[in-house]
Symmetry: C2
Subunit: 228 residues, 2 copies
DNA sequence: GTCTATATATAGATAGAC
DNA sequence: GTCTATCTATATATAGAC
């Protein structure tokens, strides 16, 4: 008498989980929960129960919760960052003086491509990014800037070139205002879409929200510095 | 032989703490820690040890941590909200068609007045607001909208009137983008000011950051709606 | 690799003496 | 009103059998 589980093991190899592998199941469950509830409000217990894997497997595969968080984000950043850089390069080649709105819009395609990688990928990624910048006291900021710094620098460079009337120090502030805008919007996007639906009968998805926020941010970044 | 503590009790009444009263000491310690570290990262143990009061006194005076959080915010909102409404009223009386930048700027004085109420009051209040909107899953949002809804409605009304080319649904989104901008900026203001100092030798305080962010937000809210 | 069981830490909240 | 001591819940992390 052998049970179903043992039967699978015989077919696909010993020690290999039947369904998709445990590591992936953890990442998939974790990213959804992190995006919805935030990092500190999501326990490993909740993750492993949703993933239908053992509690101890998180530490086996990732070492700690912090490293799991980084792994969840890395899976997206490794796709998005090179994609974004490619788009920026194409843009600069074709159009020396692209507008800010064009530059921001160039990031939309790489963002939406994340939906091909995983269901609701775009929404989840942006919410994760939001949570990450807001919640974590440094370790994610550090992780992102050290691992993807060259892409970020490239972005800053292209934006600065497109708005040469903004001095570097002012641009620093405005890009952080922009980060705040997008990060907060994405972290609360579910709630905001619900309200927009209830109060204005507006149907939105993550793309339409992105399209709304781009003009706002582009106008803010480029507004002339007041002389006061 | 009586000690100093007993002596104070004899003078100012029994059961009354000598220093400022326990409730206030808790509020003062809590608001600093909440602003710096966020709500869920701040334990009652940390608060009471900084306040030099007993752990149990939080529950005695406030009932729960959630209620303490609300009390901390209420102490500021009760000053700020009426002040802001007064400024808006004055503005509308003097100037039917005030610009968005003027409207936002009208809130600066009530904000800075919080520095008179308590040391670093402005910074702490804005950081708390940022943390509150970002962290809490509803209970603070609910508290703010139900207790201060009329002031918020008034603000929305004045802004909408100043940008009549923006339809209400679009204004809803843009005001939330604005909320995100200010809230994220304030929650990370300490880090941003440090970086600006290190990288650009720029000395900033909370007022100068507010002055920087206003033109950004005003431009974003008023930018014409794209026809796409 | 995966499981059970547990170590260890820390949280919010409360009972009851004073 | 304030204290000590403790309850209860929940967290991350790990040891060791399989």
């Amino acid at each position: 008498m052998i049970n179903l589980n043992e039967c699978f093991k015989l077919i696909i190899g010993h020690g290999m989980a039947n369904r998709s592998d445990t590591k992936t199941r953890i990442l998939d469950a974790a990213e959804k929960l992190f995006a919805e509830r935030g990092f500190s409000e999501t326990s490993l217990r909740l993750i492993t129960s949703k993933a239908e894997v053992n509690l101890a497997s998180v530490n086996y595969h990732f070492g700690s919760k912090k490293e799991l968080i980084r792994a969840v984000l890395a899976r997206y950043l490794d796709v998005f960052m090179p994609g974004a850089s490619t788009e920026l390069t194409k843009l600069v080649q074709n159009n020396e003086n692209a507008s800010l709105e064009t530059i921001f819009s160039a990031l939309v395609r790489p963002l939406l491509d994340l939906n091909k990688v995983r269901t609701e990928g775009t929404r989840i990624f942006l919410q994760l990014l939001g949570r990450g910048y807001i919640e974590s006291q440094g370790h994610l900021r550090w992780f992102i800037t050290t691992h993807y710094g060259e892409h970020l620098d490239r972005f800053v460079q292209v934006v600065s070139q497109s708005a040469p009337h903004i001095p570097p120090a002012e641009m620093f502030w405005r890009l952080h205002f922009t980060l705040g805008t997008v990060v907060f919007t994405m972290a609360s996007s579910d709630a905001l879409m619900e309200i927009a639906e209830a109060d204005f009968k507006e149907q939105n998805d993550i793309e339409s929200v992105i399209r709304k926020v781009i003009p706002y941010m582009a106008a803010g970044v480029a507004v002339p510095v007041s002389k006061a």
